[in-house]
């Protein structure tokens, strides 16, 4: 497994874990408070920060346990990365579009922030999944 493929796995796992923790905390708080009034900002910022830090730490740990022959991306890694981000971009578009409509309809900030956050998470998860599929099943951009 190449350095970048390992990094994609680490990124996927940390994104899912961070969002899972976020949802668990927010849903737990919603049991006692009306959903739109649940304090979410600090949790969102902390889980996002933890996801970034966890991704870096996870990559270091994985490389320590199983060092890669080369720790730089090559042309195939870059093509796969571009392909994954291109294929998953619709989640960002959908999140932003939904947030725009919700803002125009004067929804609570809670829902607007959360639909944007969900869009980012789905973009990251779908992008990582597409990249991992491309690593395993092949990539032939010319076809």
């Amino acid at each position: 497994m190449s350095y970048e493929e390992k990094g994609t796995w680490v990124y996927l796992v940390t994104c899912v874990a961070a969002y899972g923790v976020y949802l668990a905390i927010v849903i737990g708080r919603a049991a006692h408070t009306p959903v739109a009034q649940v304090p979410y900002v600090a949790v969102l910022l902390w889980t996002t920060g933890a996801s970034i830090a966890g991704s870096i730490a996870g990559r270091v740990l994985v490389e320590t346990a199983s060092p890669s022959g080369r720790r730089r991306s090559d042309v195939r890694d870059r093509e796969i990365s571009r392909f994954g981000e291109h294929a998953s971009r619709w989640f960002i578009v959908a999140g932003a579009g939904a947030a725009l409509i919700m803002a125009m309809a004067r929804w609570d900030y809670f829902w607007i922030a959360n639909v944007i956050y969900l869009g980012f998470v789905l973009w990251a998860v779908a992008g990582s999944a597409v990249k991992l599929l491309a690593y395993h099943r092949g990539l032939s951009p010319a076809r």
Binding site: M1, S2, Y3, E5, S68, G69, R70, D74, V75, R76, D77, F83, V130, L133, A134, Y135, R137, G138, L139, S140, P141, A142, R143
Partner: protein, 73 residues
Amino acid sequence: MTKPTRITNSIRALRFAHGEMTQAQLAEQVGVTRQTIIAIEQGRYSPSLEMAFQIARVFSVPLDEVFAYPDGA
């Protein structure tokens, strides 16, 4: 999802004909990861034209001795 390439190659045979060159050695000379050489050999990745020429240059053979595109593909 993308499909594997129809381009075939003789990289494995050429490596063995060149002193049993390893995938890692070829990767080093081309400037890519060993996983990329494996993916090309297995037909899971179509290299760029530039990388194809670099691989052919390592073996000192013309491009069409390394890569082929079957008729009707």
